[in-house]
């Protein structure tokens, strides 16, 4: 069984920042665990700009921002455990972790959960029709295109105009794909104005508000959807070969949901609440890292 003073689950913006700040605050026995091969969390797949203004004073891409954080991390002796899945966390302050060839327990004094978030997916919506291939969440599509260099389809519909939806609309366009439209249930786009200007307006991608996807068509692969106008109720068919859903993010708190508040447990970053920008997840990580190092407790 491994032992540490401070266990940090998740090596994304919040987790790395928390590790570095706890180290700087004097904590010398820190274990940072992540399922990825390298620290960075979701940042490496975020090839777009918009990172780092608050933290580093100039605009960076996700991978550049991650590189800055990793550089800070490299100046510490925080132990990093890659490719490791945390299976459970128990009230007696032990985590069970699983990795290739090894399943082990880690006893810790304090825990920072920086597990990020997961995406809502289309199964949670009352959408009728078939369940064919060719439907991806925006984050999934982002990973597949940016990290795996895969080609998902040619005629793209995007449901949801949050930041991720708009950024992926541009990404597909830059990949030479035809984004038919970004569909938004609300009357206004969901993400930040700068993403609307840079991703939607600048590339003249049609944004349709007040509509949703009510039905999916296609047998093997998706062939189209029914778009429903939420105000008038009218429906129209739109052909597509790919549907990308950007339906919002859910803080990933599964590991601690049965534990509740504890004076040894800290949450940082998107698993605490969804942050608009990575810099603010980092800022929260820094604060939480200091508190954890000092043994101070923050309210949930």
């Amino acid at each position: 069984m491994a032992v540490c003073d401070l266990l940090i689950i998740g090596a994304g913006a919040a987790g790395i920042s928390a590790a570095v700040s706890a180290w700087n605050a004097g904590c010398r026995d820190i274990l940072l665990v992540d399922r990825g091969e390298a620290p960075g969390g979701i940042l490496p797949q975020c090839r777009h700009e918009g990172f780092g203004m608050a933290s580093f004073g100039h605009e960076l891409t996700g991978p550049e921002y991650a590189a800055h954080l990793i550089q800070q991390l490299s100046r510490t002796d925080v132990r990093f455990l890659p490719q490791t899945e945390v299976l459970s966390v128990s009230e007696d302050r032990k985590a069970i972790v699983s990795s290739r060839g090894t399943v082990d327990q880690i006893a810790f004094a304090r825990l920072i959960l920086a597990a990020g978030c997961r995406e809502h997916q289309i199964g949670s919506l009352p959408v009728s029709g078939t369940r064919p291939a060719g439907i991806f969440t925006a984050g999934q599509a982002q990973e597949m295109i940016n990290l795996r260099h895969q080609d998902l389809g040619d005629e793209i519909l995007i449901l949801g105009s949050g930041d991720l939806g708009m950024i992926m609309a541009r990404r597909f366009t830059l990949e030479g794909k035809h984004v038919i439209a970004v569909l938004e249930q609300q009357a206004h786009y969901g993400g930040m104005a700068r993403n609307y200007h840079r991703c939607i307006e600048a590339y003249q991608i049609p944004l349709r508000t007040g509509v949703t996807v009510s039905e999916i068509h296609g047998r093997g692969r998706i062939s189209g959807v029914t778009i429903k106008n939420l105000e008038t109720g009218t429906r129209e068919y739109s052909a597509c070969d790919t549907l990308v859903t950007a339906l919002g993010l859910i803080p990933e708190q599964t590991l601690v949901q049965d534990i509740g508040e504890r004076d040894w447990l800290y949450l940082a970053g998107n698993c605490r609440h969804v942050h608009d920008i990575a810099d603010s997840a980092s800022a929260e990580g820094i604060l939480v890292g200091e508190c954890a190092a000092a043994g101070l407790h923050l309210g949930a």
Partner: protein, 482 residues
């Protein structure tokens, strides 16, 4: 290829639940059996969506084959699932009434059940029902409690039967469609798109196509009218009942069932639609399921829904449109058996039906019993079911079983590779064997990893990997270099 047809004793047409069990039960005799399936994997037709209930047997008229088989099958389900190493939960069921008409139905089913020798049946008050399930609607006034009802995962059961059949010598021919059947001096010659097969006997378990397969050789007055039903699947965290709940409506055809599945999620449905061959969920159907679910358990949080889908049932009817309630087992000539329109309780009775047909065929073919028959199949080891100590030891011996690929359902790379070794060729084929992508993110985080493992293991390009068979490719072929 033209070197004469390969010959077998029995050809089973259709690799769904029924075909897999027919093939498995035939192994109890010394018969050379081939199982022929149109698609690239077994249990990919109507077996892939189902209410997943092992019925107790009070739904059917005393003396009918359905009643007899259901009661017998139910009693033997623990043993069957132990043999095949498939999870089975005897969670019990409550059929719930909110009004007079439903009360009468429950009383009738209770008496019917007593006559069918269903064990443990009781009519209980709404109050007692709420003692069993605290979250039930307070308007429930009467319940038919049945402790023997249970639930099993339909495709896991079918795949297990198929693996057991193969282990006992059955040959599986995938991607093979039967296009014609000829009777030729005591032998049936099956024309397929992959050459000819000959067999002394044929078992037609072709599911939605069983009527057409039958008609390849024999005239029949029976056809299949498919009926679709819509379902919701709720996350394992949902406040779910511990029993199967069945809502007996005041108005015919508007019932609902909730099943706490062996996988931990809650299955809710179906709302039925006639004459639909479409595996497409309907808006009205889903809306009705949602309304009724809230009626049964008012505090159920439908935001825990992670998936909705449609299932198709093969309802048999005469050409004039009259529906047939019983299992249709056609035996137009010696050695030719057709199972047409086997719907509810088809999952419960799949093994009994297989055994029934196998016994009949063994007699017709004068086959000897097979002393080497081994009914035991070992399932894929599931890391999630192991204790910490077992898991630690297991990962140390087999490193792939420490590498977690599906986060929601806690499935390792080792399990996925074993699923592929045992015949999974698609993302959904892996899902049906080891539950990848069954959880709350529905594959958003693991699909690409499963896809990569399929591509590497099967040595096919990534763009050739499908979700669930031809036409459901997930990626486009990348042209040009990166």
């Amino acid at each position: 290829m033209m070197a004469g047809a390969e010959s077998f004793d029995v050809a089973v047409i259709g690799g769904g639940l029924l075909g897999c069990f027919a093939a498995r039960e035939l192994c109890r005799w010394r018969l050379k059996t081939v199982l022929v399936e149109t698609r690239g994997d077994v249990c990919t037709g109507i077996s892939r969506a189902n209410t997943a209930i092992v019925y107790p047997g009070y739904d059917h008229k005393p003396g009918t084959l359905k009643a007899e088989m259901t009661v017998r099958a139910n009693a033997g389900f623990e043993q069957l699932c132990r043999e095949l190493d498939v999870p089975f939960s005897r969670c019990g069921s409550m059929m719930l009434s909110f009004g007079e008409k439903a009360d009468a139905v429950l009383r009738k089913k209770y008496l019917q059940g007593m006559e069918n020798h269903v064990p443990g049946l009781r009519l209980i008050s709404g109050e007692e029902a709420r003692e069993h399930e605290a979250t039930l609607n307070p308007d429930v006034r009467l319940a038919l409690y049945s402790p023997t009802a249970g639930t099993v995962n339909p495709w896991q059961l079918g795949i297990a039967a198929c693996e057991n059949a193969i282990q006992n010598g059955v040959q599986l021919r995938l991607n093979t469609s039967v296009t014609g059947i000829l009777a030729d001096s005591g032998v049936y010659r099956l024309q397929t798109d992959r050459g000819e097969l000959s067999a002394r006997a044929v078992v037609n378990c072709a599911g939605l196509s069983a009527d057409r397969v039958h008609a390849l050789l024999f005239p029949s007055d029976i056809r299949i009218a498919p009926t679709a039903g819509d379902y919701l699947l709720l996350d394992r965290t949902a406040a779910k009942p511990s029993h199967i709940l069945q809502y007996e409506p005041e108005e015919k055809g508007k019932g609902l069932t909730m099943v706490p599945t062996v996988g931990g999620s809650l299955l809710v449905g179906p709302s039925e639609r006639e004459n639909s061959l479409d595996y497409a969920a309907s808006e009205d159907g889903l809306a009705s399921v949602r309304t009724l679910a809230k009626k049964l358990i008012p505090e159920l949080n439908l935001e825990d829904t992670i998936r909705s889908f449609a299932a198709v049932r093969p309802i048999p009817q005469y050409r004039d449109g009259r529906r047939i309630n019983s299992f249709v087992i056609e035996h137009p000539a010696s050695g030719f058996w057709s199972l047409i329109g086997i719907r509810t309780p088809g999952l419960t009775c799949a093994r009994e039906l297989g055994l029934h047909i196998a016994g009949q065929l063994a007699y017709e073919l004068d086959a000897q019993s097979n002393p080497a028959f081994n009914p035991v199949r070992k399932g894929i080891p599931r890391v999630h079911e192991l204790t910490f100590a077992q898991r630690k030891q297991f990962a140390a011996q087999l490193p792939d079983f420490g590498e977690i690929v599906c986060i929601c359902e806690d499935v390792s790379k080792g399990e996925i590779l074993e699923a592929i070794r045992r015949g999974a060729v698609t993302v959904d084929g892996v899902k049906r064997r080891v539950c990848t992508g069954m959880g709350r993110c529905q594959g958003a985080r693991c699909q690409q990893k499963v896809l990569e493992l399929l591509s590497r293991t099967l040595q096919i390009p990534e763009h050739a990997v499908t979700k669930d068979g031809r036409g459901s490719e997930i990626l486009r072929e990348r042209h040009g270099s990166l």
